[in-house]
């Protein structure tokens, strides 16, 4: 019996409700045409259906974890698989999907940056958790899009928030010493969150790293911290900073470069003369991105 796509969809929704990863697969092409449309799924140690050959099921089961990076919660791709042995060896095209619980964004510090950051991260589909030690800031009413808003004690900020490598953490507390306390906790975790960002000027970031080095952290550990967090968009307001952080999160997941597409694709240069086809993109200056605005802003350190 071949589970129908409806049954597979129900199983996926069940897995997501339980917070588990599930892989689903369907044969889209095979020499043995009776296999086309055979479906199979795998979630932890549970599985169901078959792709029409136990050998093919085994090949796909062995491949799925490597096909999708562990930090990703969603994926879809097609691959050719060889299966069977000797005279029975054959190839099948299999379409595989990964569905996982949405990744989490933990914002530490419920101040003025946290509000737009919570909103834009929720729009990206992240489950947002906001932490602060001040009751008037850690108020659910301030963060309608958050999955949770928690009061914490900075002596043990993640006591009620268990973190794993799929998580994102952005430190935007009111004080650098609080950011530092969080950072030390995060870096000492056996499986630290995959994305750790901290806001700050170059000077403050440098001071943090000096302190980390004094406290015995290695440069490999220090490299886990994205600080200053965000892409260089030149923005300064809380909303602009939130967009810059969110843009870096997207880039982190999509393996983007962060450079403007106009420079990456260079359609005019390639196809309409100018600089010709080859060679690296010409470096744009801060001024050339200025657009019609009021011109370059004066440089100001982030608070």
């Amino acid at each position: 019996m071949n589970p129908s796509p409806a049954r597979i969809a129900a199983r996926v929704l069940e897995a997501l409700k339980e917070g588990e990863r599930i892989y689903t697969a369907v044969v889209t092409d095979a020499a043995d045409t009776s296999m086309i449309g055979r479906r199979w799924w795998l979630s932890g140690r549970l599985h169901g259906g078959t792709l029409g050959s136990p050998s093919l099921d085994g090949e796909v089961a062995a491949a799925v974890t490597a096909l999708f990076p562990p930090r990703e919660s969603r994926g879809a791709l097609s691959r050719d698989f060889e299966y069977g042995e000797g005279a029975g060896a054959a190839t099948a095209k299999v379409y595989i999907e990964l569905h996982g619980p949405p990744a989490r964004m933990v914002i530490v510090g419920a101040g003025h940056i946290a509000i737009p950051l919570c909103r834009v991260c929720a729009m990206l589909g992240l489950r947002v958790v906001v932490l602060d030690d001040r009751p008037e800031f850690a108020a659910p009413g301030r963060f309608p899009e958050a999955a949770a808003v928690r009061m914490i004690d900075f002596r043990d900020p993640f006591a009620d928030t268990r973190l794993d490598p799929h998580d994102h953490v952005v430190l935007v507390t009111r004080g650098h010493s609080f950011d530092y306390e969080c950072l030390v906790r995060l870096l000492r975790m056996p499986g630290p969150p995959g994305y750790i960002g901290m806001i700050g000027s170059r000077r403050r970031v440098r001071a943090t790293h000096e302190q980390l080095a004094r406290d015995g952290f290695t440069s490999d550990q220090m490299k886990l911290v994205r600080a200053p967090v965000g892409l260089d968009l030149g923005g300064q307001t809380p909303v602009e900073i939130a967009v810059s952080v969110a843009a870096e999160v997207i880039m982190f997941h999509s393996r983007g470069t962060g450079i403007p597409l106009v420079d990456k694709e260079r359609v005019v240069e390639r196809f309409f003369g100018g600089r010709g086809g080859g060679g690296p993109a010409p470096a744009r200056t801060r001024e050339s991105y200025g657009g019609p605005g009021p011109g370059p802003r004066t440089k100001k350190e982030q608070p």
Binding site: M1, N2, P3, S4, P5, A6, R7, A9, A10, V12, L13, L16, V26, T28, D29, T33, I36, G37, R74, G75, A76, L77, S78, Y95, E97
Partner: protein, 109 residues
């Protein structure tokens, strides 16, 4: 309609439908691999694989599955008429797998 809503719609089907999924794509296409559309006997129920002529082609092929045609991959080439300025012209190729989706209580034989 979000992906989750489409999954919920699919999971709660009452009548047989055809599920169309972009299983691979190359170049610039309106929707990417993993995008889905659910098609009923009288037309699209939910979702989209990009709209335009390409989608029409998929719906036409899907209708044949209601009559017992086997599941198959429909190749939609959006590179053809580059100058038409139709919203469907993006310059890419999509492979869309179409398969029969019976309500969950009736699994396939």
């Amino acid at each position: 309609m979000s992906e989750k809503q489409l999954l919920a719609r699919l999971a709660s089907l009452e009548e047989p439908a055809i599920l169309a999924t972009i299983v691979s794509s190359k170049g610039s296409t309106p929707r990417k691999t993993g995008a889905r559309m659910l098609i009923g006997k009288s037309g699209v129920i939910a979702g989209t694989v990009g709209g335009g002529c390409g989608e029409g082609e998929v719906i036409e092929a899907a209708m044949k599955l209601f009559d017992g045609a086997p599941p198959r991959t429909v190749r939609v080439d959006l590179t053809d008429d580059f100058t038409s300025w139709s919203p469907a012209v993006c310059g890419g190729i999509m492979n869309i797998f179409i398969e029969r989706a019976n309500p969950a209580r009736f699994d396939d034989p």
